[in-house]
């Protein structure tokens, strides 16, 4: 038994715990990571963290930051929300995202748009291309029915409760939990409107988001709500972020459609290129 009967003993016991490692934790400093992404100097890495089943992570990142999410085991569902860091009432709007691009299925080059006609992030890499803009994330009642426990502090928390606590640390509340995008577990819409689940990810599948404005990026790893498996299943998600520049004037994402061009024009009006 450790000697924690005294402040001196308790202090020594606490300090002796440092240096432990688990599979789901941040790497600090991020630049000490063992395997930086291709062509990325380790010194440019600003966020390195792996979240496990039912976990979440949230971080403010400056515009231009690249955020890579990896489906480590090929069997996760990563719920994603984006808020403007400096004015979080502006946030990811999935309805505008699908409507303004005339496209409901994200893939390489897809834009994640705010409710103010601006580009929050560009999907600059996507080796999965099977995602979900329709069904959002689980709520506590869902998980109570599905897994027998929907509590925020239990073994099978809902995505909603994960988002609530993640955003609370930025001063936000449940009002700010907008409909999210799910990455790595997708859906497709049948001609009659029916929603069907598609699991087309693979170990190591990844997406890279480029922040086009200063953002709060929030990721939760919880089972897709249409996943029929009785076990609470969502594998680890590795998050790696590094410094970079937002879309350059000649970036192909700007010319991918007339709507993309105007959405980037609106973004530039707000934040640059004069602001770089």
């Amino acid at each position: 038994m450790p000697d924690t009967a005294t402040t001196y003993g308790a202090r020594a016991h606490a300090r002796a715990q440092a240096g432990s490692a688990v599979t789901t934790q941040p790497t600090v400093p991020a630049s000490s990571l063992a395997d930086p992404p291709p062509r990325v100097p380790a010194g440019d890495v600003v966020w390195e963290e792996t979240i496990g089943t039912g976990g979440y992570a949230s971080r403010a990142v400056p515009r231009g930051t690249r955020v890579r999410l990896v489906d480590v085991d090929g069997d996760t569902c990563a719920g994603l929300l984006l808020h403007r860091a400096d004015r979080p009432a502006e946030r990811l709007n999935v309805a505008d995202t699908v409507k303004l691009q005339w496209q409901a299925y994200p893939g390489p080059g897809y834009l994640l748009l705010s409710d103010m006609g601006r580009v929050l992030a560009t999907l600059v890499e996507d080796t999965c291309a099977c995602h979900d803009t329709f069904t959002g994330t689980s709520n506590p009642l869902d998980n109570q029915r599905r897994y027998g426990d929907g509590s925020a502090y239990g073994p099978t928390p809902s995505g909603r409760d994960r988002f609530v606590v993640a955003l609370a640390k930025h001063g936000l509340t449940e009002r700010d939990v907008a409909p999210n995008v799910n990455l790595f577990t997708g859906v497709r819409i049948e001609p009659d409107g029916a929603v069907t689940l598609r699991r087309e990810s693979h170990p190591g599948a990844h997406v890279v988001l480029r922040a086009e404005l200063d953002l709060v990026v929030t990721v939760v790893a919880v089972p897709h709500r249409l996943d029929p498996r009785p076990q609470y299943t969502a594998g680890p998600v590795r998050i790696t972020a590094w410094r970079g520049s937002p879309a350059e004037p000649d970036d192909p994402a700007r010319r991918s459609s007339p709507e993309a061009t105007r959405a980037f024009e609106n973004t530039d009006e707000e934040a640059g290129p004069w602001a770089r």
């Binding site: 009432a89 709007n93 999935v94 309805a95 505008d96 699908v98 409507k99 303004l100 005339w102 496209q103 409901a104 299925y105 748009l113 409710d115 103010m116 006609g117 601006r118 329709f134 069904t135 959002g136 994330t137 709520n139 506590p140 009642l141 869902d142 909603r160 509340t173 449940e174 009002r175 700010d176 939990v177 907008a178 409909p179 999210n180 819409i189 001609p191 009659d192 409107g193 029916a194 929603v195 709500r225 249409l226 709507e259 105007r262 959405a263 024009e265 609106n266």
Partner: protein, 205 residues
């Protein structure tokens, strides 16, 4: 169904906001008076509006993006909020969201920035109830037609409604309803001509 008494009957002018609090058990009948008029619709639990209509919870619970008779509008906490008890149109949209001045610039060009839009109506109609921008999330669009193609292409196309088509909802809780009678003139959601709609609230007697 027992006898119902009309407790409210109002024509909502074209382009305008509207809000009303329904008691649990009340029915709200929305009449598309002149046909193909999109009615953008949000709903909140009256006692605690942080709990509100949620498109993803509704889509997931129903397994379908279209709404019609029997569909249940769910809250963000997974509770039934409103049930569709009658629908002579056939299907309604959960995906397309509300038009805004800002999104119109992306969709149609910067010249549309100053046109009236549904988000303006939601902000105007929500403010007296203490609701602001953070409280606006994906809404229902009654009488609006948004198909999704096999390749993911989606968009607002010509409506399938007609003069006199109705949808009727039953409140499962006390519900604050917030509506924008859509003023959009750049796509077919209103047949390029916004028109009035009629709201009839009935209560079991």
């Amino acid at each position: 169904m027992g006898a119902m008494t009309v407790v409210h009957d109002e024509v909502v002018p074209a382009r305008s906001p509207w809000s009303h609090t329904l008691a649990a058990g009340d029915h709200l009948r929305i009449v598309d008076l002149e046909g193909n008029q999109a009615v953008d619709f949000l709903a909140y639990v009256a006692a605690d509006p942080v709990e509100r209509y949620s498109a993803p919870d509704t889509i997931a619970a129903r397994g379908n993006i279209f709404l019609t008779t029997g569909s249940v509008l769910m809250t963000n906490r997974g509770r039934p909020l409103l049930t569709i008890v009658d629908d002579t149109c056939g299907r309604h949209d959960t995906v397309g969201g509300a038009c805004s001045c800002e999104s119109n610039t992306v969709r149609y060009g910067h010249h549309t920035k100053h046109q009236h839009a549904c988000v303006e109506n939601f902000l105007l109609g929500g403010a007296p109830h203490g609701l602001g921008k953070r409280d606006l999330q994906s809404n229902v669009n009654w009488f609006m037609n948004v198909p999704v193609e096999a390749d993911g292409t989606l968009g607002i196309v010509d409506g399938i409604s007609a003069p006199g088509k109705v949808v009727e909802l039953r409140a499962e809780l006390d519900v604050l309803v917030l509506v924008s009678n859509c003023p959009q003139i750049n796509n077919p959601c209103n047949g390029f001509d916004p028109t009035p709609v009629r709201m009839i609230v009935t209560r079991p007697t």
